[in-house]
């Protein structure tokens, strides 16, 4: 009896393991963020378009916002730019940019040529803010609620589908909870 049950059980376990591990849809580089549910790290950085203007996420307390980490060196950021513009046009939440490991001139050019979906773009010159947010690549998109808590992190280029499925329901829930 055991001679048949044990190998069969082992086989089933392997199939389940492989179905999960070899699933092509699973992004093996996407790591769960330990920041979820915690207070979003605060930053006060110069705006990429105007260094004298300070972008401070602490000032956004009380409203749900999106923080999008990008850079002109990042091909996937170029890929998601159209989606961000579309999201910005809907004016559901402010999108704050965090320009990371970048050059100011290139970033300015990017925003004037491709359009600017951001309410403000913080310019992280030394990568410290990115470290605080646990950023390890770009693009990364965070959703922060009115109490300043990180609700969700998405690693990969933003798409209208991801926005609809992952972000909008959370934004609605956060607003209901906050009201």
């Amino acid at each position: 009896m055991w001679k048949f049950v044990l190998p069969a059980a082992a086989f089933v376990a392997l199939v389940v393991l492989f179905a999960f591990g070899l699933n092509p849809k699973r992004d093996i580089h996407a790591l769960p963020s330990p920041l979820i549910g915690k207070q979003a790290p605060l930053f006060d950085l110069g705006d990429v378009l105007d260094p004298t203007r300070i972008v401070s996420n602490g000032a956004l307390k009380g409203q749900v916002y999106v923080l999008n980490v990008w850079g002109t060196w990042c091909v996937a950021c170029r890929e998601e730019h159209e989606a961000l513009l579309e999201i910005a046009r809907a004016r559901v939440v402010p999108i704050i940019g965090l320009d990371y490991m970048d050059e100011r001139e290139k970033a300015k050019q990017w925003l004037t040529q491709l359009g600017n979906p951001y309410q403000a773009v913080a310019f992280d010159t030394d990568g410290r803010t990115a470290i605080d947010w646990g950023v390890y690549g770009a693009p990364e998109t965070f959703l922060v609620d009115g109490q300043g808590r990180v609700l969700y992190k998405f690693i990969s280029p933003m798409t209208p589908e991801v926005w609809q499925q992952e972000f909008l329901p959370r934004i609605q829930a956060a607003r209901k909870g906050g009201a």
């Binding site: 330990p34 990568g127 410290r128 990115a130 470290i131 646990g134 390890y136 690549g137």
Partner: protein, 169 residues
């Protein structure tokens, strides 16, 4: 015949010249290597990043130990000590600064896991949730031992093949 001999002499001379050239090249290469080795010996040992070594050798050894245990999240199978990625350089800078500021190793690892999760550590600490990772080798060892014992016991109950059969033939 003479033409043949002349050609032979020319070839020999050419060959000697070639030999000299090769010997000269070899000598130069060896000398160059020696010079390089000498200059490398003069230079301080290569540090893991552009900032150079920490003044305090104790801090430096702690630094090296910590950066070897932190995963570069861009390459994921390299430590930040080995990686040339900008993020790894930023994280090394962070570790240095915290060391110089007098922070403990635990505080530095805590800083990293707070931001990047447990995955950032190559050696996850022994905790209830990491029990399976640390225990798995022992579980597999015990499982193997149980199987071996069972098989050996079963075999020892079986008659040997070359045992003379008992009873009338």
């Amino acid at each position: 015949m003479t033409a043949h001999r002349a050609a032979y002499a020319r070839a020999t001379r050419a060959f000697r010249r070639l030999k000299r050239t090769v010997a000269l090249a070899c000598a130069l290469a060896i000398a160059g290597d020696a010079a390089l080795a000498a200059s490398a010996a003069d230079a301080p040992p290569r540090s893991v990043d552009a900032y150079g070594q920490l003044q305090d050798p104790v801090l430096q050894s702690r630094f090296e130990h910590i950066v070897k245990d932190l995963r570069c999240l861009v390459c994921q199978n390299e430590s930040i000590a080995d990686s040339n990625v900008e993020l790894a350089a930023d994280l090394r800078r962070q570790v240095r600064e915290m060391l110089v500021a007098g922070q403990s190793d635990d505080a530095i690892f805590g800083f990293m896991t707070d931001r990047y999760g447990e995955f950032v550590r190559f050696n996850p600490p022994l905790e209830p949730k990491t029990l399976l990772i640390w225990g798995a080798p022992f579980i597999i060892l015990i499982l193997g031992a149980v199987i071996v014992v069972r098989v050996v016991r079963q075999r020892s109950r079986m008659p040997l093949d070359d045992e003379p059969s008992v009873g009338p033939s």
